[in-house]
Symmetry: C2
Subunit: 142 residues, 2 copies
């Protein structure tokens, strides 16, 4: 059994347009066509799409995703490159997570700040709560 481009698109949360675009960019060399020229997505193709989504969702550009797909098509000799790519991507994700953690601290500070401001209808927050000023200094020092 196989899926049409529209069905496949729905399954992975993309549009058929986007899947055609990916195909044009060489990201879907594994997708076969029916005798009448329609793309037929297999279960395995859907898994490929999920890996592509995973890589794209963690910030890998389509060009590098294509590089990975090319390696996969090339065969067993490219296993080290592929392993390396995922190790690098793991590093990248963990760096991003750390960055987001820092951003989240600033956002939490702003929420506290504006909650106090909203309660009193003005921005004299630090006069009312000097500890928040200390926190601000800590968060924005670097």
């Amino acid at each position: 059994m196989s899926y049409s481009i529209g069905e496949a698109a729905k399954m992975v949360g993309l549009t058929a347009h986007t899947l055609r675009f990916y195909d044009k960019e060489g990201l879907l060399p594994f997708v076969k066509k029916t005798s009448s020229g329609l793309r037929a997505f297999t279960e395995s193709d859907i898994e490929w799409l999920k890996i592509i989504e995973c890589l794209k969702g963690t910030g890998l550009p389509l060009k590098q995703i294509k590089q990975y797909i090319d390696w996969c098509m090339e065969g067993d000799t490219t296993i080290p490159q592929r392993l390396n790519m995922f190790i690098e991507q793991k590093k990248h994700v963990e760096e991003q997570k750390a960055k987001w953690e820092k951003h989240l601290e600033k956002i939490n500070f702003k929420i506290k700040y504006y909650e106090d401001a909203a309660q009193h209808g003005n921005l004299n927050v630090f006069e009312r709560n000097p500890k928040l000023l200390e926190e601000k200094k800590r968060l924005f020092k670097d």
Copy 2:
């Protein structure tokens, strides 16, 4: 004391080009100019830049960042909108974090998979390690 556009750029890890672009887009209405027309960034301006970086770094588009800056310039009446924006952004960051966590699981799986493949020089990983196949099914089921 104040900083030139180049100094400010270096301090926040952007280029002078980018800061001029942000200015043109209306993101830096607070930056004053010297009598001869050069931008002079104050310490407070640098803090603004850091907040902009925080919002941009967590995926808020420049247009919405401009909306926030506009609210700040408008005065105390926009405090509720600003509070709401940061609450929404916090939600967004936490959703992203959860998504990245899921992606990271897939990446970790791929690392295990390719480590085994690299060790044996071929991709018969699931024959050697059926438990990994179970893990794959779990990770890619949805």
